[in-house]
C-alpha cells in the first residue's frame, strides 16, 4: 500500500532534486548523490531552457500561475466558508415554501454534464466579458461547490441539537448571529472539511480554466503546468520541479487536516 502510493511521488521528488547527469543515467541514481536545488532555481528564478509561446518565460508562467491559483482557490474557499453554513442551516432547520424544489434544483446541478456546460459557458463568458478573468473562475468554482457543500453542511448541522438554537433565541440572538455564533462552532469539523474540499477542488480545477482562460493574467497553475510539460522538451528534472511546486499546497492541506478529511468525506460521501 505504501509502495503503491509513494513510488510515483518519490520519483517526482527524486527527479526534482537530482542533477541531470544522475537522473539520465541507465539506470538512474535512486538516491541523489549530489542533491541540488538547481532545478527549482531554473524554474522559479532563471527560467532556463524554456521555449514558451509568445516569448513567455517559464518563470513567469509558474509564478503567475501560482498567484492566480492562490487567488482563485483562496477566494473560493473563503466564500464557501461563509455560504456553506448558511445554506446548510437553511436546509437543516428552516421551514419554508419550495424547500424541496430549491434542494433538488441545487443538487440537480450535479447531474448536468460538464462538456455541454463548458461549451455554453464559453459563449456566455465571452458575452459577459468573463473570459480570461479570475472573477469568472471564482464564480464558477463557487457555483460548483455549492450543491456539495450545502448538502454536506445540511447533514452536519442536523446533528447539532436543536436545544442550542432555542436557548440562543431566548437570549435574544438574531438568526444570523445564531448561525455563526452557536451552530457553526458546534459543527466546526464539518466546516473544516468544507474548507479542505473547496480548496482542493478549485486548486486542482483544470478543464474549465483550460477552456476559459488564455493569458497569464488568469491562467491557474494547473494550466501553466500542462503548458510547461508540453513545451519543456525532455527536461524532466525541470518539469518535475515545476510539478512539485504545484502539488505542495494540496499535499500540505491533506497532511495537516487528515483527520477531518476522513470524517468529512465519510459523513457526506461526496467529492
Amino acid at each position: 500500500m505504501l509502495l503503491w502510493t509513494l513510488t510515483p511521488i518519490y520519483w517526482v521528488v527524486l527527479s526534482a532534486f537530482s542533477t541531470p547527469v544522475e537522473l539520465y543515467s541507465t539506470p538512474p541514481h535512486w538516491l541523489p548523490r549530489h542533491p541540488t536545488l538547481e532545478n527549482f532555481k531554473s524554474v522559479l528564478i532563471t527560467g532556463k531552457g524554456f521555449r514558451g509561446s509568445k516569448g513567455v518565460t517559464a518563470t513567469e508562467l509558474i509564478r503567475k500561475g501560482l498567484r492566480n491559483s492562490v487567488i482563485v482557490a483562496g477566494s473560493t474557499t473563503f466564500l464557501m466558508l461563509l455560504i456553506a453554513p448558511l445554506l446548510g442551516y437553511i436546509f437543516a432547520r428552516l421551514k419554508f415554501k419550495g424547500k424541496k424544489f430549491f434542494f433538488f434544483y441545487m443538487i440537480g446541478m450535479i447531474a448536468v454534464p460538464s462538456w455541454p456546460v463548458l461549451i455554453g459557458l464559453f459563449a456566455e463568458f465571452s458575452k459577459l466579458h468573463l473570459l480570461d478573468t479570475l472573477w469568472g473562475l471564482i464564480i464558477l468554482s463557487v457555483a460548483y461547490r455549492m450543491p456539495f457543500d450545502m448538502w454536506f453542511m445540511q447533514g452536519y448541522i442536523s446533528t447539532v441539537p436543536r436545544e442550542l438554537d432555542d436557548a440562543a433565541r431566548i437570549d435574544g440572538c438574531t438568526r444570523l448571529g445564531l448561525i455563526y455564533k452557536v451552530v457553526l462552532p458546534a459543527s466546526l469539523p464539518g466546516l473544516i472539511a468544507v474548507m479542505i474540499i473547496s480548496f482542493l477542488f478549485s486548486w486542482n480545477m483544470f478543464m474549465a480554466p483550460l477552456v476559459l482562460t488564455y493569458t497569464l493574467k488568469s491562467k491557474p497553475i494547473t494550466v501553466a503546468i500542462s503548458e510547461f510539460v508540453g513545451q519543456y522538451y525532455a527536461e524532466w528534472n525541470l518539469m518535475s520541479a515545476g510539478s512539485l511546486i504545484a502539488i505542495i499546497p494540496p499535499i500540505l492541506m491533506v497532511i495537516i487536516f487528515q483527520k477531518y478529511i476522513i470524517k468529512g468525506l465519510t459523513a457526506g460521501s461526496i467529492k
Binding site: 441545487m106 503546468i225 500542462s226 491533506v254
Partner: protein, 312 residues
C-alpha cells in the same frame, strides 16, 4: 431645500435596513434571501450554459467561422451516429469505466480493511494513502508520463535494475497498452477517494456485531461476507456510481499523459478535440449531449441514492 431629498433618502434607507433585518429574522425571509441569489448563480453557471449548448447542438456553428451559423435540426446528432470515430471513442470510454470499477473496488476494499485495523502509525498511514487524491489530476498525468517514459523513466529504470529487461521499452507506444496505462493513472488517483468512503462505512459498523459473530465461531471470511458486506452495501453502490461518473469523464490525466493521441481518445477527449481544437461548437455540443445521457443517468442514480438519506 436642496438637502431635503438627501435626508429623506437616509431616513428611507434606515427603514429599509430595519425591514431587511426583520426579514432575515423570519425563517422564510432568510431562506429566500440566500437561496434566490445562489439559485441565480447556479442557473447562470450550469443550467443556462447547458441550454445554450443544446441550442448549438441543433445548429451548424464553427467558432472560427461565426458568420456561417444556421439551424440544422438533428443533423449533428445523425452525423455523430454515423461517425466511426464516435464508436471507437465510446468503446474506449466504456472499457475505461468498466476496468476502473473492477480494479478500484477490490483495491480500495483491501486498503480500507487494512486502515480500519488498530495499529501504530495508523494516522500517518491514512494521511499518506489519501495523498494521490489531493494531487491535481493534470499533474498526476505528468507524473505517470514521466514514470513510463521510454528513455529515462522509472519503470524502465527499475525493471532494468532488477534484471527483468535488458533494454528500455517505450511503454506508451502500443495503443492498447497506452489506454491501460491511462486507466492505471486514474486508478492511482481515485482509489484513495473510494478507500475513504469505504473506511467511513466500516467505522460505522458496531464492533459488538463482530464480537458476537466470533463467539458463534464465524471465521474472518464469513464475518466479512455476512456482516461487513451487507452493512456497507449502500456505500458500495454509491462508490460504484461515483467511479463510473469520474472514470467516464477523465480528461486532465489523459490530456497530459498522451494528449490527443488516438490510442486514448475517449469520448471526453474526442469532444474536446471537436469543440475546442477544431472549433466545431455545433457538432461538439451534440456529442456533449450524447455523452451527457450516460452521465445524466448515473448522476440521477447517485442523487436518488443520497437523497434517500436526506430528510427534508
Amino acid at each position: 431645500m436642496g438637502q431635503k431629498p438627501h435626508l429623506l433618502f437616509i431616513y428611507e434607507g434606515g427603514k429599509d435596513v430595519r425591514k431587511l433585518k426583520k426579514l432575515i429574522d423570519t425563517e422564510a425571509g432568510l431562506a429566500y434571501l440566500i437561496l434566490i441569489p445562489t439559485s441565480v448563480i447556479i442557473f447562470l453557471m450550469a443550467y443556462l450554459p447547458a441550454l445554450q449548448s443544446f441550442k448549438f447542438s441543433l445548429m451548424h456553428y464553427n467558432v472560427r467561422v461565426p458568420w456561417k451559423i444556421y439551424f440544422v435540426g438533428v443533423k449533428n446528432y445523425i452525423k455523430i451516429l454515423q461517425d466511426p470515430n464516435f464508436y471507437n471513442a465510446l468503446w474506449r470510454s466504456l472499457y475505461f469505466t468498466v476496468v476502473s470499477v473492477v480494479i478500484i473496488i477490490p483495491l480500495a476494499m483491501i486498503f480500507a480493511l487494512t486502515l480500519n485495523q488498530e495499529f501504530k502509525f495508523r494516522g500517518i498511514l491514512r494521511a499518506i494513502v489519501i495523498l494521490p487524491w489531493a494531487i491535481p489530476p493534470v499533474v498526476n498525468g505528468f507524473i505517470w508520463k514521466w514514470m513510463l517514459n521510454g528513455d529515462y523513466g522509472f519503470l524502465n529504470g527499475i525493471l532494468y535494475q532488477i534484471g527483468v529487461i535488458s533494454t528500455y521499452h517505450p511503454w506508451l507506444k502500443n495503443p492498447f497498452a497506452a489506454l491501460n496505462w491511462a486507466i492505471l493513472t486514474f486508478v492511482w488517483r481515485f482509489t484513495p477517494f473510494v478507500t475513504i468512503l469505504l473506511l467511513g462505512a466500516l467505522q460505522s459498523i458496531p464492533q459488538m456485531i463482530y464480537d458476537a459473530a466470533k463467539v458463534d465461531g464465524a471465521g474472518a471470511w464469513s464475518r466479512f461476507r455476512y456482516i461487513t458486506l451487507p452493512m456497507i452495501k449502500g456505500i458500495l453502490s454509491i462508490a460504484i456510481i461515483l467511479i463510473s461518473i469520474y472514470s467516464f469523464t477523465v480528461f486532465d490525466e489523459i490530456y497530459t499523459l498522451t494528449g490527443l493521441d488516438p490510442a486514448t481518445k475517449t469520448l471526453m477527449m474526442y469532444d474536446y478535440e471537436l469543440a475546442f481544437e477544431k472549433g466545431k461548437f455545433g457538432l461538439g455540443s451534440a456529442l456533449a449531449y450524447m455523452l451527457g445521457i450516460f452521465l445524466f443517468v448515473m448522476a440521477a442514480l447517485y442523487i436518488r441514492r443520497i437523497s434517500r438519506e436526506v430528510e427534508l
